[in-house]
């Protein structure tokens, strides 16, 4: 059974059809990187997987449960999915520790002591134990993003979604975040990652998916999609990304 399975997914905003029939799946423990030009629908795809956007048609299954089924409890289903946003979206009125603990208490009904223990464990994992009492505004972008990862991990998701997690960061802070993600992948986390970091995709991804204009153009191992693309559109995109300014 795949961790995620997407069937014939369509999504329109008004007249604009952003996703035009997406089919693919992510197996347990796999890391899949999604690449593609701006506006191709990568974020929309990710947001449809955890139903932050309601798909126009098609099905999304996570751990064999159909999230798009009308009777499904979407809040319960979302607990299986961790999401990391480009803009971090840490809760600005809460300390780092409370950021990581609050949903455990309110959603998973863990005791405060248990939630704090799990929170500290996950902050340790992303190397930010000493920032537990800081507020998000006191952290660098890279640190905030690592807290956001810890916050998602604390819910024990079976799948982590990343939407361009390093795109809002200063270049020198990208490495720390990618390092945390690399470690997650090594530990066997199932991950669906939208990224422009080709080095990361080549090194960590089991599969790379290239999207353009709402469809999947190419889907395969990184050696193939990045190093030997079959389609002109993929080649053109990669050329632009790998040789900026040319």
């Amino acid at each position: 059974m795949s961790t995620v399975e997407i069937r014939k997914l369509h999504k329109s905003f008004g007249k604009l059809e952003v996703l035009k029939g997406i089919d693919f799946s992510v197996e347990s423990g796999q890391v899949v990187c999604v690449i593609g030009p701006s506006g191709s629908g990568k974020s929309t795809l990710l947001r449809c997987v955890n139903l932050l956007e309601q798909p126009t048609s098609g099905q999304v299954f996570v751990d064999g449960i159909e999230l798009t089924h009308p009777d499904v409890d979407i809040d319960a289903a979302r607990r299986r999915l961790g999401m990391v946003f480009q803009q971090f979206n840490l809760f600005s009125h809460l300390t780092v520790l409370r950021n990581v603990a609050i949903a455990q208490e309110r959603v998973l009904k863990r005791s405060r002591a248990e939630a704090v223990r799990v929170a500290r464990e996950n902050l340790e994992k992303v190397g930010l134990s000493e920032k537990a009492e800081s507020y998000p505004a006191q952290l660098s972008g890279g640190q905030q993003q690592r807290v956001a990862i810890a916050r998602a991990l604390a819910m024990n998701p079976s799948l982590m979604l990343f939407d361009e997690p390093t795109s809002a960061l200063d270049p020198e802070l990208v490495g720390d975040v990618l390092q945390v993600m690399r470690k997650l992948a090594e530990d066997g986390m199932t991950m669906l990652v939208v990224t422009h970091e080709m080095g990361f995709a080549r090194e960590v991804a089991d599969r790379v998916v290239f999207m353009d204009q709402g469809v999947i153009v190419e889907d395969g191992p990184p050696e193939q999609v990045i190093s030997a693309p079959q389609h002109d559109r993929t080649r053109e995109f990669l050329h632009r990304v790998l040789h900026p300014g040319v």
Partner: protein, 274 residues
């Protein structure tokens, strides 16, 4: 062209600095004339006797503080609490997906912002006519809280609405993506941030309420329920001397000026941290 002329006859043209100096001189002159005229026209001994009588002012103590100021604070705070709660509910109703809730909230805000607060107080006094046997609990204190509450709720609803809209959308999305239901995310994440944002304007609202509490006088209050404005007025008639009104005014300022200052400080601090 103007430049050319200025260059051609530098002697007769005034430089901007000179013009500014003359303009300022005229303004000082006007001010001086007004002050001198008022000072000459005023009857100073009478003013001292009528408005600055320390003997009359002393008669008001300590009731000025122990009764009048205390009651003013009680009316203000109880009205603020009701207005805060009702205003927050109205602001949330305006975001509701149930259209009639949005209409009710929008209608409420329009109506109660459009009416003089005085009219509300007069109507509250007449409530028992509409609902026979109905009594607002807490007598005058309850009626005052209700009157000040329903009026300020209309303003606070608009303030909260702006505050809720100012919380970035990503906060709600992050909360939902962690499995929080919509209501939970509102209560734990969005509303606390919105309240932080609206603290400065709410402090200003508190100043307005503090002044509006003088309307309680139209509810018909006993001596122990009297607030600052009525207290000053009553004392003034007792002693046939308006000094107590001035004293009441100063007591209002004792509260409203520091509060207004605090509001501006909070605003500046928020502006800086964003």
């Amino acid at each position: 062209m103007a430049d050319q002329q200025a260059a051609a006859s530098p002697q007769r043209r005034l430089s901007p600095r000179q013009k500014q100096r003359i303009s300022r001189g005229i303004q000082y002159g006007v001010l001086l004339v007004i002050v001198v005229v008022l000072a000459l026209l005023a009857d100073w001994p009478a003013i001292k006797e009528s408005f600055l009588s320390s003997k009359v002012a002393g008669e008001g103590l300590p009731a000025l503080f122990t009764v009048a100021l205390k009651n003013t604070v009680i009316y203000t705070i109880s009205g603020f609490v009701i207005g805060f709660a009702l205003g927050l509910v109205l602001a949330l109703m305006r975001q509701s997906s149930v259209a009639p809730y949005r209409w009710i909230a929008a209608g409420y805000v329009e109506v109660f912002r459009g009416l003089p607060a005085l009219l509300i107080f007069l109507l509250i006094g007449s409530l028992p006519l509409a609902f026979p046997g109905f009594q607002v609990p807490g007598e005058v204190y309850g009626q005052a809280a209700l009157g000040l509450g329903v009026v300020s709720a209309a303003y606070m609803a608009e303030t909260f609405r702006a505050g809720l809209q100012a919380v970035p959308k990503g906060q709600m999305e992050a909360a939902r993506s962690l499995g929080m239901p919509h209501m939970r995310a509102m209560v734990s994440i969005v509303i606390p941030q919105a309240i932080r944002i609206v603290i400065p304007p709410l402090t200003n609202e508190l100043v307005l309420l503090f002044k509006d509490s003088s309307l309680v006088l139209f509810l018909g209050v006993t001596a122990s329920q009297v607030e600052l404005a009525k207290f000053g007025n009553d004392q003034a008639s007792t002693f046939a001397n308006p000094t107590p009104i001035l004293v009441s005014g100063l007591t209002y300022l004792l509260i409203t000026i520091p509060l207004g200052y605090a509001a501006r400080r909070l605003e500046a601090r928020q502006g800086a941290s964003r």
